[in-house]
Amino acid sequence: MRSAKAISRVVIAVVLIVVILIVGVVGYYLASPPATVKETLLMGTTDSVESCLDPARAYDFFGFEIIQSLGSPLVEYKPGATGAASDIQPALANTWSSSSDGLTWTFNLRQGVFYDDGSEFTADSVKYTFDRGIQIADPDGAWVGIGIDGIINSVEVVSKYVVKFNLKIPFAAFLSLIAGQECYIVDPKYAPKAGDAWSVNDVVVYQDGNPRGSNPMGLGPYTLANWTRVAGKDTAMRLEANPRYWGNSSGLPKTKTIVVNFYTSGSGLALAMTAGDVDIAFRQLATTDINNMKTNANLKVWEAAGPFIQYLCMQQKNAPFNNVNIRKAVAAAINRTALVQTVFQGDAQPLYSMIPTGMMGNTNAFQSVGDPNYTLTQELLGAEGYSESNKFTFTLWYETSGHYPQSQQQALVLQDSLQKSGLITVNLEGRDWAAYRTARQEEIMPAYILGWYPDYIDPDDYIQPFVSSTGGSWIHHNYASTQMDQLVEQARSSTDATARANLYTQINNLMVQDVPIIPLYMGNQFAVSKTNVQGIYLDITQNWRNWLVYAQG
């Protein structure tokens, strides 16, 4: 029999071994170098800067995406934002307040912020930016497109770090508006005024071999180190971390260099992503490619509800769509579930209000008409004298050059859904975007499908441009209602959130009553990356935050 002493020795030895093992294992992990972050990320896209990188003219997705990396706004949306007012956070402005009538907004600016060239950002920079954007009034740009000169009256420098905006109208979505890329602050040194007055000739455009001179920004997380265009399209772009970025103390940007690779088609981009030629593929990938990539273990698909919507317009100047019963009969015969399942394989959501699901003001009002409700369609058309032997016939137009996703398939599904009512015959007519655009202007299309990316994240931007008699004139559907105009004006100028929500409920109900336009679906947005990529935030703001993206090396 072994002595107690011997047993205790064994126990001590075992304990020692276990302790040594634990210390060794823990020490190994603690002593191991932390996973490094890759210095360079390769982005792939089918986009290209449409016109330039000057917020006074740029009005395209990719132009905005790059402006966002090169500049900063006064306020910005948090990553993962849903469009709520509480999602807005400080950027170049630390704090802000508005007057009780909603006509004056005062911003206290962040101090000690410098442009990449070393000059200081002050209230003068803000005034310069807004005066410039409004006075250049480029017809191609967002300032004119949104009608910012109809909202902002003047910008005053109160002190070096305090700036005041005087508005022409109380505008509920003001913070959302100035978070937009067109309102990003420019560097006066790189955005000079040539003559006495601002003109479109002052817009900063691409200069071959001079990336710094090709953009007027300088307050953002990145600087533009290379930008090459061949025949008006981007072929190479490199972003380098800005050493003077005000967010550097927070460890931003996370990746030092971003190199953008350009592809001419979604299938080309999908192949490049699958082959590993790029780390991230962002815009535009076809639904089938995305679904294929979802099953690829080497890739990660990032998906979120997007701000993009599509809707059906009807020409209300002439018969048959000047008759509200006919419009309602069509609305009742649309099967949105079939649309999103068949065309987008579930990568989109049915839309029952012009305001996207999840945003303040959405009430799914069109669900009350049906999805589809063929009985209602038959009742309404029957009352108008249509029958199985005398069907209501109209032509649905759609776009064919890829301006909107899978338009022809959408038109086919809509045709099928409408014809299943038994009382409707739909003829289809396709045109490329240029011809479609002319047809819209000439008001020769009885029914046509359009799409929308918002200018600012607020229900106002999903309502006013479509049903207000002034804001909606560009659609050429010829809908005008005094009651609707009044509701829209009240909703956009109210400073009370509850009152606004009530007003949008009334607007949605009136839309179901008048059927000026029929919401169809809201699209999801996608990015695909290698599995080591982190920090991608897709949200309803459609912002792409390069400075948060990184990959473990």
Partner: protein
């Protein structure tokens, strides 16, 4: 007719050809529905601003005056301003041209060399399995759509084997080949493979070649079918002619007879076909460029048609027309040089 007068008459014939082409494009573009001015105004259809832009682009003038102005501009070497981004079209066309030229040259080399070699081999093994295989290969590559073959290569060599990039012209994280720079002397062709050699940078040469390989192989293979069939049938005829039999009888080596004697004779029609195929090559280049995201004139043309950028489309067509004329002229001259009967 001397060779010189022949060349001059051929050049003079080129001018009306370009005019007919240009006039057709000019009229067709304007007959098509679509308005380049309207496309600048998505939400703000301000009539005053639209008219201002129309005047600035010269679109307010009668059609005949627009045409005359364009033609006069053309004589001065001015291709007008783009209706999409208002930049000079000549500058844009010539910035995209080297990419298309490089793709065209390498594709033609691949098509020509592969087509002639396989054609000779097939003719030597007439009606044997080797001949059948080559014929089927020629028919398949001729019939296969460019974008489909391109996609197969992308899937095989890019996605599957990871040997070659699936698109673009160069590694975007590197600076493109700069060409030769000695003091004030700067020589760059815009052809990346040549410029990287001029720069003396072998790494860039290999990189640019890697990017070029799949697009040029795709286009080259699609075009080589014609050369295979033509070489095969010509060689088949030539190999049975008396002078070949005589050469063989003198005990000359088989390869000398085939390549030194027979092929030289059989090559003339192939050369003509190369000239004719050049127009097809440019058409194919448009699709190849789109498939491989190759930033050349084809990609430019497609993008601008969607925008109804009249001047850009006209400029590209003029350059394509001139290019085809030059190549067919060179082929004709070579032909005339090789076969003096042409000049009679």
């Amino acid at each position: 007719m001397t060779l010189r007068t022949y060349i001059i008459s051929r050049i003079l014939l080129t001018i009306p050809m370009i005019f007919i082409l240009l006039t057709t494009v000019f009229v067709v573009m304007r007959v098509l529905p679509g308005d380049p001015v309207l496309l600048h105004f998505e939400k703000s259809e301000n009539l005053e601003a639209m008219n201002r832009l129309r005047v600035a682009l010269g679109l307010d003038q009668p059609l005949w005056l627009q045409y005359v102005n364009y033609i006069f501009g053309l004589f001065r070497g001015d291709l007008g301003k783009s209706m999409q981004d208002f930049s000079p079209v000549a500058q844009q066309v010539f910035s995209a041209f080297p990419a298309t030229l490089e793709l065209a040259i390498y594709s033609m080399i691949i098509a020509g060399v592969l087509g002639v070699i396989l054609g000779v081999v097939a003719s030597k093994s007439y009606n044997k399995p080797k001949d059948h295989i080559i014929r089927v290969f020629g028919i398949v590559t001729y019939a296969i759509p460019v974008f489909f073959l391109g996609m197969l290569f992308q899937l095989g060599f890019g996605v599957g084997l990871h040997w070659l990039p699936v698109g673009n012209r160069f590694d975007m994280s590197l600076s493109p080949p700069a060409g030769l720079n000695i003091g004030n002397l700067h020589l760059a062709t815009g052809l990346y493979t040549i410029d990287s050699i001029l720069e003396g940078n072998m790494f860039k040469f290999v990189t640019s070649f890697k990017y070029l390989l799949l697009p040029s192989l795709t286009l080259g293979l699609v075009l080589c079918g014609v050369f295979i069939r033509l070489t095969r049938s010509n060689m088949f005829e030539t190999l049975r002619l008396d002078f070949v039999t005589a050469a063989k009888a003198r005990g000359l080596k088989d390869s000398t007879v085939t390549y030194g004697y027979a092929l030289r004779n059989a090559f003339l029609p192939v050369l003509t076909m190369m000239g004719l195929q050049f127009a097809m090559l440019l058409g194919g280049a448009v699709l190849t460029e789109t498939t491989f995201s190759w930033p050349g004139l084809g990609s430019y043309l497609i993008a601008r048609i969607n925008f109804r950028d009249y001047t850009a489309i006209q400029g590209t067509v003029v350059v394509f027309g001139i290019l085809v004329s030059i190549v067919s002229l060179i082929v004709d001259i070579l032909y005339a040089y090789l076969d003096p009967r042409i000049r009679l």
